[in-house]
Assembly symmetry: C2
Homo-oligomer: 514 residues x 2
Amino acid sequence: MGHSATGYRTIRINERDNVAIIVEAGGLKSGALLDNGIQLFDDVPQGHKVALEDLTEDAPIIRYGEVIGYAESDIVRGQWIHEGLVRMPDSPPLDQLSFMPRPAPALVPLEGYSFEGYRNPDGTVGTRNILGISTSVQCVAGMGNLVVKRIKEKLLPKYPNVDDVVVLNHSYGCGVAINAPAAIIPIRTLKNLTRNPNLGNEVMVLGLGCEKLEPKQLITPVADSNKHKDILELQDERFQGFAGMVDGIMAMAQQKLERLNQRKRETCPVADLVVGMQCGGSDAFSGVTANPAVGFATDLIVRAGGTVLFSEVTEVRDGVQKLLHRVASEDVGRALIREMKWYDRYLELGGVDRSANTTPGNKAGGLNNIVEKSLGSIIKSGTSTIVDVLAPGERVRRKGLIFAATPASDFICGTLQLASGISLQVFTTGRGTPYGLAMAPVVKVSSRSDLSQRWFDLIDLDAGNIASGQATIEETGWELFRLILDVASGRKQSAAETLGLQNDLVLFNPAPIT
Amino acid sequence: MGHSATGYRTIRINERDNVAIIVEAGGLKSGALLDNGIQLFDDVPQGHKVALEDLTEDAPIIRYGEVIGYAESDIVRGQWIHEGLVRMPDSPPLDQLSFMPRPAPALVPLEGYSFEGYRNPDGTVGTRNILGISTSVQCVAGMGNLVVKRIKEKLLPKYPNVDDVVVLNHSYGCGVAINAPAAIIPIRTLKNLTRNPNLGNEVMVLGLGCEKLEPKQLITPVADSNKHKDILELQDERFQGFAGMVDGIMAMAQQKLERLNQRKRETCPVADLVVGMQCGGSDAFSGVTANPAVGFATDLIVRAGGTVLFSEVTEVRDGVQKLLHRVASEDVGRALIREMKWYDRYLELGGVDRSANTTPGNKAGGLNNIVEKSLGSIIKSGTSTIVDVLAPGERVRRKGLIFAATPASDFICGTLQLASGISLQVFTTGRGTPYGLAMAPVVKVSSRSDLSQRWFDLIDLDAGNIASGQATIEETGWELFRLILDVASGRKQSAAETLGLQNDLVLFNPAPIT
């Protein structure tokens, strides 16, 4: 980006902020002149913060217009505000928070946008046409992997309208305390995964026969009331050996593929789209470039009548006071607080607190603590009213902006959002991850241009131009919105789809293993 | 097995037992005459128990010479003792248990047996020669799967002495509370998995670059002190895009394959063998046929100087008083009690207790509760002195019989035993499971002949002949011992290897997700 006539570029988000971040790739040396007239007192890495004024010990450090910490000692104008200089503030106390419901969405409706999707018997709409093979227990994972390979080789080429075959392997089903209070989470997740719109209500279930999680628990009757014909158990006495099992699975898969192959895309309103927003490998640019652009696209989808899920409890917890003024009703506000409290308690039982979230990569990228990370993370939710809150793995029941409570772990959040019913995910990254999902396309947005240049075939959209001033948040938000509709319609593939990159499903199981 | 002149066959284990089990496949009808002269009062399924005498309400029900429960109501001779008639006894209270150390193994040494293994720089000996690609975070799982496929296609055929290429995908590494007290378990597991003898001390590590679990934590210097050259991080700036990453991984894999390919099997004493024992999908025959045969083979391996791990805390907990008289020292006894207490507390925090272990399949197979299941399970440990106790994922440090504390979950127990250093596993099953491990051969033993006939290509050894009286425990135990040496030497493949059945690694992570 280089040294402009007026000094090196910095980004300050809110007029209350007493810090700004350095844009220059590779960072800047002590003595460098910034565009705000400040001369650097220290060497400062890219994405890290510099003090815009002298701060005395204990003074609040403000970013996004919010206190992200307090000065551990006196700080001078132009000094690098590294982790060691910032004392983290306490979390907002959940019992004393006030909230003011906003009864109706405040945004202007957006009309004239649609996508080409697969309409399902249950009313949902998929963006892909995938044969899903669910499993009731990890015991069958090896068999699942072998048969999917065989189906892809022998059957899939005959059914050109079917995009993929996916086995829903996981670590649950047996050897678990299935009656523990928290077991509801993994069970509901597995059940709702089979209902994901991209699987066309045509999932088949591979079971063993003696597991705790009964295969029929995973099947929800949709059009017809007898879905148990879609279950195949390896211990079934009609199977003679391995070859018999494989033949049985292949025969059922063929029937399913024939039905799926007859489906056609049709024009659907954006109201039929359910998009999940997530970030992973975040840096200080995430909250400045990629996440605000995602927030803008979130607003566009919601204005067009669609549904957006945002998640990651530990990255919302420290910004929750901002969200409580955007809830549609007191019930939604209470549900939001309920999910935060559940997680506080869950972490406490494990002997940790919210500070366990930030990673070495976050810190190297300039994020000092979870407060700063959270404020940059929740920008993905845009500005609209939060109409509902889902407990982990619950299915969407309303259109609009929804908080789906999940851990921030990328693969677990992805799995839970798939269970909630997303048909597409947007994933922002600062440090870079080759993340992809098997059950839905993932559009990856980078927060920095140097990442999207280096990872030219792994990143779908570069939001780094916002930092350099070559693009605005609005422009990049619109670009993302149009890209979402293109990918949803199958007109474009995401980078992860083209390369075949798929992370495994990872369940959130807070209950004991036995 | 049919109706003999003297009535249908039953099995009674101990002379104190007041119950016996029905051997006949398909079970027996009310009125059938048994070989002990009793006429059945009810229809009784195969493997289920029948009362050998009249029992009044609250009378102890005795199997394996131990109380497995108390009569819920009066029971008559010949009656089916189903789950509803049995009240479970309390667990042995861990603070009041006495133990009497047995300082030296009581068994006669066994000489003249050896196997052909791969000797490693760190002194361990492998039964297979596998290239292991460890991963420091689930973010790279998709990439790992793609490159393993490519390595198998393009490189592996050029290195005929290398058996396989395995990517150690898992759900840990980031999005986890890495400083939580219990995080030591998954971290130690991942670290020790890279040291498994079948990976020849030549593991390479695939990392991302910003994850919480640093790749270098997974590498233990062995012969040379700088193993960090075996780490490859996708965020490394030298990689241009996906293709660059793949090229980098392939180049490192080729170097590793060249070294592994030069290794040769050599004759090793049984003392160099580390075998894990496990059961899964158990039925009432497991404790009568397969597990006693395994116990006999365990004794043979220990007598020959080798090492055997048995595991599954929730299946030892209710029989622990029997094991405490077999410990080598007070320290070992205290360690055993420590692991039981840890698990009691772990289950309690999750709102459950040990009764969460038994599965619908166990119950259908005739096992009324965890006490009965435990007594049949610990028989796998044979009769020798317990010389050490390992916490979950700890590495073996002694030869002989070792209790490796793990959950009973098949895939988690398998993963933890691999971390502890087994080079081969024996797996007994009554209901049937297609279980297999990627990192070590698994010899599967069935408890019933009808299962091994139906699953002719999935089961390696039939112990069901013990129930019908056509084979003794000793004969089957010797057969298993010889099969273990054949498979360990590569002279035979296990059924799971031949078919390519491999369960995924599943970590035991009792710490929170963030």
